[in-house]
């Protein structure tokens, strides 16, 4: 701005965080957590139903690890 107007910058005002902003941020975090959890559950269910049952995968993993 300084080079466009050749006048001093009187103030640099930071973003003002209000109670509403904090509530919005909390809601966004909550939505993100819920989305991640739901996607995780859906992914595990999809693997169980469409790829291989989870108990079979579990025993395959145990055998692979030599346990």
């Amino acid at each position: 701005m300084l080079d466009v107007f050749s006048v001093p910058m009187l103030a640099i005002v930071p973003r003002i965080i209000t109670a509403a902003d904090i509530a919005l941020r909390r809601r966004r975090v909550a939505y993100t957590v819920v989305t991640v959890v739901v996607l995780g559950i859906v992914s595990i269910a999809a693997i169980h139903l469409f790829y291989r049952p989870l108990d079979v995968l579990w025993f395959a993993a145990m055998r692979h690890l030599g346990i």
Binding site: V4, F5, V7, L10, A11, V13, P14, I16, T18
Partner: protein, 269 residues
Amino acid sequence: MDRTQHVQEVTRLQRPGHAVREAHEHLVNGSNGEHRRDHDRPASVRIDRSLLKDRPIVLPDETGPAAHAYRMLRTQLLQRLRQHRSRAIGIVSAADREGKTLTAVNLALSLAVEPNQTVLLVDLDLHRPSVASTLKLRVEQGLESWFAGRINNLEQVTYPVDGFERLFILPALAGVPGSSEALASMRAQNMLGELKASEPERLILLDLPPLLLTDDFLTIAAHLDGVVIVAREGRTKREDLTRISEILGSVRVLGTVLNHSTQFERRAY
């Protein structure tokens, strides 16, 4: 008048804000001494702190980086205003949502606690007036009533603010159709002239519509002593600033304000 009455009168005259109230009385009653009816005088409005929690309003008693920034803005602007003997200041931005109303409101609040400085905040963004809604003021009518001809006396909608003896707000509650033509009318031009002439020591802050989106500014530019340009970090484009510098023409730019910044003074003192 006995001695007790005399002492009471002197005490009343010495009370802070007396001059402001007297000046307002003068405005309300008219310069020719004609007393208007009491119901012409608007009740004062209250800025309710509890309602403003979701608004980025910085009250003068607050601390923190934003409060510090507005104090800096106030002091620097006052220095420049006194230097140039300016009184009618437009707060402008290139486009909408860049924080001009917020700057106008917070600056007015900050200026109103300055000793010996009366401030009138006028919402002249007749496209999307938002001073009253930003402060959540409970008022029934504003400038739109004056433009519609429902009231003739502007003082009916010039509200004193509780707790701020030196602050008056002239809000608009609804848009004014054909605002550019309305502002260009002789009545509006006279009104702007009278606002400046009515109280020589009063500072007038005008919240104006975005320069690139309307031509309202051009119709009232002659009444302005200067403008403060508000830009928002990450939103205002450089080419927009170049364009508004052309629109401003010979209007004095008193300074700029960068809003919503991530590069502010974090050090405390």
